[in-house]
Symmetry: C2
Amino acid sequence: MSLKHAILGFIDMRPVSGYDLKAMFDASVQFYWSATHTQIYRTLNDLTDRELITFEVVQQTGRPNKKIYSITPEGKTELLKWLRSPLSLPILHHASLIKIGWADNIETEEIISLLKDYQVKIQEQLRLLETENRQQVDQYAKSPREARLWTMILENGLGFYRHELSWTREIIAQMEDFMEQGGKDMP
Amino acid sequence: MSLKHAILGFIDMRPVSGYDLKAMFDASVQFYWSATHTQIYRTLNDLTDRELITFEVVQQTGRPNKKIYSITPEGKTELLKWLRSPLSLPILHHASLIKIGWADNIETEEIISLLKDYQVKIQEQLRLLETENRQQVDQYAKSPREARLWTMILENGLGFYRHELSWTREIIAQMEDFMEQGGKDMP
DNA sequence: TGCGCCATGTAACATGTTACATGATTAT
DNA sequence: ATAATCATGTAACATGTTACATGGCGCA
C-alpha cells in the first residue's frame, strides 16, 4: 500500500508527530488519499517496528507530550525504492454512478433533485481545493521543479472536479430535456 | 457501503449466481467499483442472513451446482431506500500523485520515464472502456431513459481517463521542457 | 498434456471507519 | 459555560486482497 510511503515522505520533509501528520494529510493530500488518526497511529507503530522511522518523546508543559518521528537510513532507502517503482492506476470509488445505473426505478424529477444536490457538493469540493491549496505550493516547494510538480498535482485535482461538475450539468440537462419531451419515466 | 446495494441492484435485474455477479462486475462497473469473488460471496451470505435475498440451488450435471439468488420484497425496499438517498462524493485513491509529490528526490529523466509508462497504462484503460462497454448500453437498457443514463455513466468514465491522459501529456511536456532549459534536478 | 472455464468456498491478512477514552489550555 | 485545539491511544467493526482448495469439461 502507500499510506506507509505517504507518511514516510512527510516525515522525510521534517520530523513530525502523529497529530501533525493528520493535519498535513487534511491540509494537502486529502483529495487523493485520506487517513484517519487511527490509521496514522497504527502505521507509525508499524513503521517503527520495521525500523523505517524512530521517535523521541518531547516533554511538554500544559499540553500532552508528543512523539516526534524521524526517518532512518533504512526508511530513506525504502522511500526511494517506492519512488522509483511504477506509477499505479488511480482507483475511483464512484458509488453514485452505480446508483444512477439503477435509477430507472425512480422518477425523473427525483433523479434530477439528487443530481442537483450532488452538483452543489462537487462545487463545494472544487472551491475548497481552489482556495485552500493554492498558496501552499509556493510556500513549501523547495525547488522550481518541485513547484511545477506540485502545481500539476493540484491541477489534476481541480481538473477532476471540473470534469465531474460539467458532467453533472450535462446529465441534469439531459434529464430535464427528457421531462420536457414528456418522456415516460419507467418502462 | 454500497457493494451490498450494487449487488442488490444486479440481482434485481435478474436472478444470478455469485459467479455471474463477478462477471457482471468485471464487464460493467469495474471502473467505478471493483469486487473480488471473496467479497461477493461474503456479501451474498450477509444479504441472505438479513433476508434481503434468497437463493435456490440449481443441480447441474458435468459442472458444479450453483446458487441462484433473487431479491426479496425487503430487499427491494432496501434498494429503493438506497436509490433515493443522496449521491455521495466520489473517492479517488491516487497514489501516483502522492509519489509525484515526493519525486523531487529522483532525476527528471526518471520521472519522465515513470510518467510515460503511466501514460501507456491510462491509454490501455481508456481503450478497454471504449471497446468493451460501448455495446452493452444498447443491449441491456430497458427504456430510452435508462439508455441515456447508462450512456452518461460510460461518458463519465471515458471523460475521467481522457482527462487523466491529457494531464499526463502536460506534465511530461513540462518535465521535458524543464530538462531542455537545463534546469537543476535537485535543490 | 496443459490451460481456461465453470462454480464454490475458506483462512489469513491488510486497510479503513466509528466509537470510546483521557485531560489540560485557550478562546468565545 | 462550552467549544476548539493539542495529543495520544484502543476496541470493535467493516471492507478489501491474496493465497489456498476442489474438480470436471472442453479445447488446442
